[in-house]
């Protein structure tokens, strides 16, 4: 049967890779009106009912169309921003995308069918619908299909080409709703905030104070934590520690009550221990213990680990993962799934890693029989498997950061296919006075997955001497210990991602962008976390551009120390500063959150609730439980009512000015008594 099949991918790298696989490397390349986009022609047997066909593979470059208001809304003051909630919007094609669209339209004319090869996620589904729209303009009799794939390994791609499915209209609808709501809500609130605050003059005179329904809750988390740290009050606590020396080993027993916040009580309990003179061994238990191997890798987990262990921001990690995916080395990096499908041939994937000189031997051992099915998490997005390596890649073939991320993904995968680490634990419990104390010894017997997964460790504790059940002993030492509670640390990127994830802010695919955005807007800044945990004694560290040096002596420089130059957004890119970054809101960020919180709206915009509800509705559209129209109406109504209430209480937002008092809006919030300011350049 004659006729050509038009294939359209989401980006050039995928187009090229898929064309390469389908054609067996035999394709002709033609230029298009766009510099970045090529058309690849070849023949391929798509199987029934298509048979052996001529095919052209091309691509778009992300979204093809854009939603916008008409020119009647160009003026920020009139019509009033609330009109943006129901004013007409239009789909337009950017100047940049004109050539892309023309190319698709032209190719569609001589084609029999369109195969959409955009990434298989919600956004990809929508981009597929944009492609469809353009292609139908050229040929309205075109049959539309969609290739379902989650990596660009050859066999997988060929299978996808032969078993196309239909576009998922529900996902398309969900994204359409999201885009329209983001536009309306973002425009309305950004204009409202900006015009309100500009009127205050000063540094805000020409600033754009953007609003986004994900950005603000993200900022809200950072500000909440900031206040928790700032208002924290340390409190003393006391405990009891018993030490017994036997066989020249000092065995430390910890108190079952851990610590109490009342000194008198602890002293009384301690006194009763001493009065009892001897302690009795009430439990001696030896049992096997294990340290579980990790779960298969999801996007959120990848981002958290990347910022914790690989010193990359979540956004960098995603960019690098994307490039590894585009090169065909790893599976699709945007996934919520933490369980491998039972039908997947994991052994074949392990086998590909045997040639590596770092983990090859470990992989070989798995192939030789040590392979264990990975643990199964509870998440399954039904679209993509957990992130795993698809093909082997020697370190020389990658840029250093790509290499590190590929190494992590591979080691994680091999760890998943290995065995839990095994050990032997001994628990000993003492009854002393009325109190219970215990100690635990662990001996690691088999390291198993830990041999390939250096990101975790498990070590032997000190050897325990023998204790007999029921024996009485006189402890060598018992003492009252004391300590003080210390403030939580500022949010780190893994913390923030975990919060966003738990509260439904953004999707695994967009979280990193939201974080980058609040940094880019100067609502929050990051700096390398100094030392462990957050204590109040820590000096204020401006940290900017000074690498990993701990802030010793910085405090002495007092208020003048932290001159902050440039925008905060770029910090993440330098990487390798030797520690996790922590997030601190700018005065402006704090002021905005405070402003909205003070309005006392039923649902403050800085809280995750509204957005979470929206994300749940989008999910409901995907599951076919509600229609696009219903969600649109309900969400617009909700945000519009919040908008109108905010407008009524606008005076509270203006209090931003009182809060910041000085002109230094784009600076770190200072510690009490250490006002550290700087202006934005």
């Amino acid at each position: 049967m004659p006729g050509k099949i038009l294939c359209v991918a989401e980006k050039p790298s995928i187009a090229k890779a898929v064309a390469g696989h389908l054609s067996g490397g035999q394709y002709q390349t033609a230029n298009t009106g766009s510099t970045y986009i090529k058309n690849y022609s070849f023949t391929f047997d798509f199987g029934p009912p298509w048979g052996n066909c001529n095919a052209v593979m091309t691509c778009v470059s992300g979204h093809l169309t854009k939603l916008d208001f008409g020119p009647e809304f160009n003026d920020w003051n009139y019509p009033p921003p609330e009109k943006l909630f129901d004013g007409p919007v239009h789909v337009t094609i950017d100047e940049d995308n004109k050539a892309v669209s023309t190319n698709i339209e032209r190719l569609a004319r001589g084609s029999r069918a369109l195969f959409i090869w955009t990434d298989c996620d919600r956004e990809g589904e929508y981009i597929g619908s944009e492609v469809r729209q353009e292609a139908l303009k050229g040929n309205n009799r075109l049959e539309i299909k969609r290739a379902r794939f989650s990596n660009i390994e050859r066999a997988h791609v060929i299978r996808a080409a032969k078993h196309p499915i239909d576009l998922d209209e529900r996902q398309v609808d969900a994204v359409a709703v999201r885009i329209e709501l983001d536009l309306r809500i973002g425009y309305a609130f950004t204009r409202f905030q900006t015009t309100t605050l500009r009127a205050l003059g000063g540094p805000l005179g020409d600033a754009t104070i953007s609003y986004g329904s994900c950005q603000f809750p993200t900022l809200g988390f950072v500000v909440d934590r900031y206040f928790r740290v700032k208002s924290f009050v340390p409190e003393p606590f006391w405990g009891i520690r018993v030490t017994h020396k036997r066989d020249d080993i000092n065995v430390v027993f910890t108190w079952a009550r851990n610590r109490l916040f009342d000194r008198a009580t602890v002293i009384i309990l301690f006194e009763r221990c001493i009065a009892a003179k001897t302690a009795r061994v009430t439990k001696v238990q030896e049992k096997p213990t294990s340290k579980w191997k990790p779960l298969p890798l999801t996007t959120v987990e990848l981002q958290k680990v990347a910022s914790r262990l690989l010193r990359m921001t979540s956004q960098q990690a995603m960019t690098i993962a994307e490039s590894l995916y585009n090169k065909g080395f790893i599976s699709y990096p945007r996934t919520e799934t933490d369980r491998f499908d039972k039908g997947m041939n994991l052994m074949a994937l392990v086998e590909k890693q045997t040639q590596d000189n770092r983990w090859g031997a470990f992989a070989q051992n798995l192939v030789n029989g040590a392979f264990k099915q990975p643990r199964e998490g509870r998440h399954d997005d039904k679209a993509h498997p957990p992130i795993h390596p698809i093909a082997y890649c020697a370190p020389t073939g990658l840029r250093p950061e790509e290499g590190r991320l590929y190494e992590f993904i591979t080691r994680r995968f091999l760890a998943c296919c290995s065995e839990d680490a095994k050990g032997q634990a001994t628990d000993i419990e003492l009854e002393y006075g009325d109190e219970i104390f215990h100690t635990r010894g662990v001996i690691v017997l088999e390291r198993n997955y830990l041999n390939v997964y250096p990101y975790e460790n498990w070590t032997n504790s000190t050897m325990l001497p023998n204790f007999m059940l029921g024996e009485r002993l006189e402890p060598t030492e018992a003492m009252i210990t004391d300590g003080q509670t210390c403030a939580p640390g500022y949010l780190t990127e893994p913390d923030l991602i975990a919060l966003m994830d738990a509260n439904g802010i953004g999707t695994d695919a967009t979280m990193a962008e939201h974080i980058a955005k609040v940094k880019g807007r100067n609502y929050v800044f990051t700096r390398p976390r100094a030392g462990g945990g957050g204590g109040r004694s820590r000096g204020f560290n401006d940290g900017e551009g000074e690498g990993a040096e701990a802030p010793t002596g910085r405090e002495a420089r007092g208020g003048r120390g932290g001159r902050r130059g440039g925008a905060g957004g770029g910090r993440g890119s330098e990487g390798g500063t030797g520690g996790v970054e922590e997030f601190i809101p700018s005065t402006l960020g704090v002021a905005l959150v405070e402003g909205y919180d003070r309005m006392g709206l039923e649902t403050s915009l800085s809280k995750p609730f509204l957005r979470k509800e929206l994300e749940q509705r989008l999910k409901a559209i995907c599951e076919g439980r509600v229609s696009r129209g219903e969600v649109m109406r309900e969400s617009v109504r909700q945000y519009k009512s919040v908008f109108l209430e905010s407008k009524e209480r606008v005076e509270l937002l203006k209090a931003v000015r009182q809060l910041s008092l000085c002109l230094f809006l784009f600076c770190y919030v200072s510690w009490p008594g250490h006002r550290v300011c700087g202006t934005v350049n």
Binding site: R228, F232, V233, P234, E235, P236, F237, R257, N258, R259, L260, F261, D262, R263, A264, T265, I267, I268, L269, E271, R272, D434, T485, A498, L499, D501, A502, N503, T603, K607, P608, F609
Partner: protein, 264 residues
């Protein structure tokens, strides 16, 4: 027609339930039927009297029979006495509760979130939505403060420290040496809850050591005290940590341990 129960009969019925002996005049209203009403049978009267007794104030003159109600030994709170034992079953009422396993600030943070209508479950922030507009105002009026405390305070294993007072109004602290059922923050244990400190119960350095064998939690509450305790809880905790921060550590930590603080 049976003769109505007498005061001694009712009193006897109550003490046989393990309750302290009530003052005769406390029982009079219960035994006085309203006009054109007939007096219910003894078991019903006993139940009514028990309920009223548990919700009464033990320290007011006409609640318990002073001649038959044991009280705490004088100087019970003397921290210089390392150890002593109670020699009678002493009825007391709880007028203060403190969770010793959690810092005050941690409790303040939990209460604050509750006040804002939020609740954390793991990392997830959950909005606590009142059922209706009425629900919201009821919460503001203190109507749902008890649920608030249940959520904010969670289920803690303590140990809890209690401030208790006997029939004469003499006060003593006690803490859970071992876990005692029904001891906890309201509503597990309300302010004004009645407790029997039993004969043989240990007292160390002026503090009663609470353990299941020597403590019977009878229940009940004193409504007014309970309400003001719950409503003033966050402020009290804040003041307590504030005090500690400004003053030196040895000073009275929020009305907490002044009886026992100078033992070291």
């Amino acid at each position: 027609m049976t003769t109505p129960p007498s005061i001694p009969q009712l009193s006897q019925a109550l003490t046989s339930l393990g309750l302290p002996p009530p003052h005769p005049s406390f029982l009079v209203p219960i035994l006085t039927p309203g006009p054109s009403q007939r007096l219910p049978p003894l078991p019903a009267l006993t139940a009514t009297a028990k309920l009223r007794l548990l919700n009464a104030d033990f320290t007011s003159a006409l609640t318990l029979d002073p001649s038959r109600t044991p009280s705490l030994p004088t100087h019970i709170s003397d921290p210089s006495i390392a150890s002593r034992v109670l020699d009678a079953d002493v009825p007391v009422q709880v007028i203060g509760i403190e969770d010793l396993s959690r810092s005050k600030w941690e409790q303040v943070e939990a209460l604050e979130m509750e006040r804002k209508g939020e609740l954390t479950k793991g990392r997830e922030v959950i909005r606590v939505v009142p059922d209706s507009e009425d629900g919201a105002s009821a919460a503001a009026m203190g109507g749902s403060v008890s649920t608030q405390h249940t959520q904010a305070m969670g289920r803690s294993n303590g140990p809890f420290k209690l401030l208790m007072e006997d029939v004469k109004g003499q006060r003593v602290y006690g803490f859970e040496l071992k876990k005692v059922e029904k001891v906890g923050y309201p509503p597990v244990m309300s302010i004004g809850c009645k407790v029997i400190l039993k004969n043989g119960g240990k007292v160390a350095r002026g503090m009663v050591l609470l353990e299941p064998a020597t403590v019977v939690v009878l229940g009940g509450k004193i409504e007014a005290l309970d309400k003001s305790w719950r409503e003033g809880r966050e402020k009290a905790l804040r003041d307590a940590v504030g005090d500690r921060r400004s003053g030196d550590n040895g000073s009275n930590n929020g009305g907490g341990t002044n009886a026992t603080i100078n033992i070291d």
